[in-house]
Symmetry: C2
Subunit: 244 residues, 2 copies
DNA sequence: CGGCAACCTATCAGTTCTGCTAGCACCCTA
DNA sequence: TAGGGTGCTAGCAGAACTGATAGGTTGCCG
């Protein structure tokens, strides 16, 4: 029945030139898979720099969203805490999952269940450049029905989420890095510094004077528009200039 | 026919307790999808530290592997150069792909084709903790056959690759981080330092003395077993202690 | 060939960080 | 309630880094 859901989605996504268009397409496609509510959270987009605004879309009930925000549940929500460190989807709210959470988190899950968010699947999305997104779908059904639904659609949900995130990141997030061009010497100095070497250490490694190392670091910092080594290195890593 | 290939693979993977067992399972499963040759490259595993050994498995023809290594083709191979910055699979060696490569790369692709590696699909795998893996499958067939095969199995290849990498990373790579426990103050200092703040800046932000900031940074460095701020911050980011 | 630009090399004064030491507040437990 | 452990606060000497300045090398182009 849903043989070509994913392919159709990918094709249609090419024509989605606005955030709203892509969102509606994603929502509609998930409805085809009998998903009641979902939340998409796009974090750490490439080029958006540190602490860039998250990209947030949800069809969760408004009262729940407000309750969630009001109680600072981001710090408690077991999905938000566990999913980022996973590479594959996880189920939440199930009998099995509840065994692994703290009492406070259990209370949180109970509150969610009262709003119809009984259980669901959370799909972590790790993309190029350290990007991270999260799709959490909620299924208001019996455990038995949930299991059957997941068996049928888990992989499709997974793929849809991956392609949706990739499309959002590529088209709707300003990810233009002002193409910093560091020289090879500068890159070497950044890398060794990131690995814990001091200027003197690096001067020995590269067979140049310590003062020269400092000069290269300085130029690298100027190009990266920062004023300390730690910041330069973090930025260089974020921009993919060095891979420690 | 191949309805449950992915689910069967995931189930069987649970029982694969050795590298060889998982490899053979992956190979066998890909053969079911009519994939002639594949290469799996696991890079940047979490916890394996900077410059960890890559994890490499391939069924490519031995002569090609040697030719590849001998000519340092890692620096030329358009797949190796492009895939890491992509979030979704790409096709290589196709008429369309050849339009986007340099003359040297075209020569490279021609040499590959002579060995039966005419075209294929490359699946980038971004996982938790900045892990990266790459699965490249080669299909020795006409462009028409290739298109049909991809239409039928692309998504399955994608999912198989994701789960295979996750399993390898979790079970066969020593990813035990000695559970460094930094305090909240230490984490705050690390984070602000990563964002370019000096000790004095941070002391103003946190309303404590500069000496105290230095003390916290020092404890963080001791716990992380490093001897400079740049290194501490890089390690903290790698270990997921801070998210700049 | 001369001029130019980009990069590497080097030096120095002033600022910041590293390593060490020590007191105080809090929580837990005996 | 006393003791031990943990974490936060703070000061100081010596080492490392920041920022500005300047000469030397290489390769490109008119």
């Amino acid at each position: 029945m849903n043989e070509h859901v994913v392919d159709d989605f990918i094709t249609a996504l090419q024509g989605a030139t606005t955030v709203e268009g892509a969102r509606d397409l994603f929502t509609k496609t998930l409805q085809q898979l009998e998903v009641g509510h979902y939340a998409y959270l796009g974090l750490r987009f490439r080029g958006s720099g540190p602490r860039g605004r998250p990209f947030f879309i949800t069809t969760y009930p408004q009262p729940w969203v407000e309750h969630y925000d009001g109680n600072n549940y981001l710090q408690i929500d077991p999905v938000m805490l566990e999913a980022p460190s996973r590479s594959t989807p996880m189920h939440w709210g199930t009998r099995e999952h509840r065994k692994t959470v703290t009492p406070r988190q259990k209370k949180f899950l109970n509150e969610a269940a009262e709003m119809g968010l009984c259980q669901g699947s959370a799909i972590p999305i790790h993309a190029a450049g350290g990007e991270f997104g999260l799709v959490s779908v909620a299924i208001d059904a019996t455990p038995r029905q949930f299991t059957a639904l997941m068996r049928a659609h888990q992989h499709q949900l997974h793929l849809l989420s991956l392609y949706y995130h990739a499309h959002v990141a590529e088209n709707f997030i300003s990810n233009e890095s002002p193409k910093v061009s560091v020289t090879s010497r500068e890159r070497e100095c950044l890398l060794w510094s990131a690995l814990g070497k001091s200027s003197w250490d690096i001067s020995e490694i590269l067979n140049i004077s310590e003062a020269t190392v400092n000069f290269h670091m300085q130029n690298a910092m100027r190009k990266l528009e920062v004023y300390s080594r730690p910041h330069a290195i973090v930025k260089a890593v974020m921009m993919g200039i060095i891979n420690p």
